[in-house]
């Protein structure tokens, strides 16, 4: 029956293209959206992943950076440094703001950015890779991502505005852009001054001594220093991803539902019309002695092959998109993960099964005697 399904499907090329194309586009919606969100989740933790810190210490209860605010008294820095197993600490200041930069009309181009205030002796938390210029900003200097600088038409030595303060562009970092913005670095002194010398820090980035477990040291910090939350880097990044995931759950659900409905409609229509077109042939098989179950298998196999090819096509398009998007100059990264493949694959099987139900019902009611009556 698989052969019959296969041949039935491939005999009518136009119908095949419509059904496979329709399903592929519907599944592409789900698959590419998943890939975009996975990409965003990975991008959003780029700074955390590449910070060089083993532990992030924040105000009690704060477990991520995105859409969060953490303020710790400066005295906490020393207390954390004194915890056994801590090799070094880097206090940073952090706020969401914009980079104002433009080549010919100053400050017209606004780029949303996470602004990091970095001390001169930072052992963690700085830009992981520098394309040009300095790696730690001095007073009056700023480091922004190379892509943002290129987009805004600024080069090293140009003036840009961050937190409303005019600074000199002294360094260009690599891979510090995300879908929502980029990461810019200024000196902690400038950050302090601009924000009114509060004497507080946002996060304390900890490096642990060789052989120490970050989880164990984080536990010690929480035990020995009051009103702080200490998270190993991996846990902190996981929390960050979860925030983005929670924010996008509704969108993903709606888009998946749309994809599902479109896919189901296309498949149901094409499998139904394909079965209708071969109604007499199914009747002939019934008259010859084929059981209804044989014919159901043929219809189901037809739907499964269509959906399978559609799924493969949608995956191929997503892979092509994920490979080509970085060359389009957009701050987007498409990442396909196994869970997404399983989920969309499962969705495909459900579509195939449901779309075959109506034609199966039609075949069940088919009287083989009609073949002898020329119907």
């Amino acid at each position: 029956m698989w052969r019959l399904a296969f041949r039935n499907l491939f005999q009518n090329k136009v119908r095949l293209i419509i059904s496979v194309g329709g399903v592929a586009l519907a599944l592409l919606l789900s698959l590419s959206l998943d890939a975009i969100l996975e990409g965003i989740q990975r991008q959003v933790t780029t700074y955390i992943d590449q910070s060089g810190a083993d532990i992030f210490v924040a105000q009690a209860g704060v477990r991520n950076m995105h859409m969060a605010s953490s303020w710790l008294p400066a005295s906490m820095v020393g207390k954390v440094r004194g915890v056994p197993g801590v090799e070094s600490v880097t206090p940073i200041l952090y706020v969401t703001n914009v980079i104002e930069a433009s080549d010919n009309a100053p400050y017209m181009a606004l780029n949303l950015a996470y602004i990091i205030g970095l001390p001169p002796n930072a052992t963690a938390g700085g830009p992981p890779r520098i394309a040009e210029g300095v790696s730690i900003p001095a007073k009056g200097e700023a480091i922004i991502d190379r892509a943002v600088a290129a987009k805004s038409g600024v080069v090293l030595g140009d003036k840009i505005k961050i937190l409303g303060e005019e600074l000199t562009l002294a360094g260009l970092s690599e891979s510090m852009t995300t879908f929502t913005g980029s990461i810019a670095f200024i000196s902690k002194k400038d950050f302090d001054r601009i924000r009114g010398e509060t004497g507080a820090v946002s996060f304390i980035l900890v490096k642990v001594e060789l052989g120490e477990s970050p989880a164990e040291v984080a536990r010690r910090i929480e035990n020995q220093v009051d009103k702080v939350t200490a998270e190993p880097r991996t846990g902190f990044a996981a929390q960050e991803r979860k925030v983005v995931q929670d924010m996008s759950t509704d969108i993903v659900t709606i888009m998946n539902l749309i994809g599902f409905v479109i896919g189901l409609a296309v498949m149901a229509l094409t499998v139904y019309t394909a079965t209708l077109a071969r109604r007499k042939e199914y009747g002939v098989l019934k008259a010859l002695g084929a059981r209804s179950a044989h014919l159901y298998r043929a219809v189901l196999a037809q739907a499964l092959i269509s959906v399978g090819v559609g799924f493969a096509l949608s995956l191929l398009i997503t892979l092509i998109l994920s490979a080509s998007v970085p060359y389009l100059g957009v701050s987007l990264s498409l990442q396909i993960n196994g869970a997404s493949l399983i989920r969309v694959g499962g969705l495909s099987i459900v579509i195939a099964g449901l779309s075959a139900m109506l034609p199966i019902k039609q075949i069940a009611g088919l009287d083989p005697a009609l073949v002898f009556r020329g119907k």
Partner: protein, 271 residues
Amino acid sequence: MTNATFQVSQVTKRYGVGSTEVTAVRNVSLSVAPGEVVLIMGPSGSGKTTLLLMLGALLKPTTGSIQLNGTVLSALAENRLPDIRLREFGFIFQDFNLLSALTVLENVAIVAELAGLKSRAARQKAAAILTDLGLGERLNFLPEKLSGGEKQRVAIARALVNDPALILADEPTANLDSKIGHEVMRLLRRIAKEQQRSVVIVSHDQRIKDIADRVLWLEDGQFKEVTTMAIDPVCGMSVEQEKAISTEWDGRTFYFCAKGCRDEFMTKPQR
């Protein structure tokens, strides 16, 4: 080879009830021996299709019984009938009814696969039958590429692939020209005789009467007159006994298509 006996006893089929009741087939009895070719003719609306459907286990009679090899088909549960149709009957249709997406070989093999044969064995068996029927060069053709005669030969191969006891043919020459129709019918007769399969043909085509061993006339749901066929011992042609020229010799009656054949026979009757 098969030793099947097909027995239809007092079969009646009624449709509807009360004032709308119609009796399509009335008290029909028929026995078909192995290797026998029976032709059922009759005008439109005479009940031929209804009878054929009952013979093919596609329709249950209202009364009466249909037996094949001692099994009363008319008493079997519905869910057992597909297997009976698949293994005990071969069907040949008026408009061939080949599956358009499958090749000649696949059209035949699929029926063997439905009966439980593995794909490779089914294809081998189908290829052997098709080659025997002169279609060895057409195995991978789609039906649309075949002539009418070739399509009907594929249908015959499909009907034979599960070694059925009985072959039922519904207007098998209706879509064939006279010459090809006759060739196909001669082929069917040869198969019936060589393989001892019973063949029941329902047709309007008067031209195929000569290939039948018996011709039955169905009218108003009943057999009206039975025409018995005989073979001319000189030219081998099938002739109706009632209309043919006959002669007695050595205690037997011989039937001839024409006076010339009788005269030739009489010159050397002991042949």
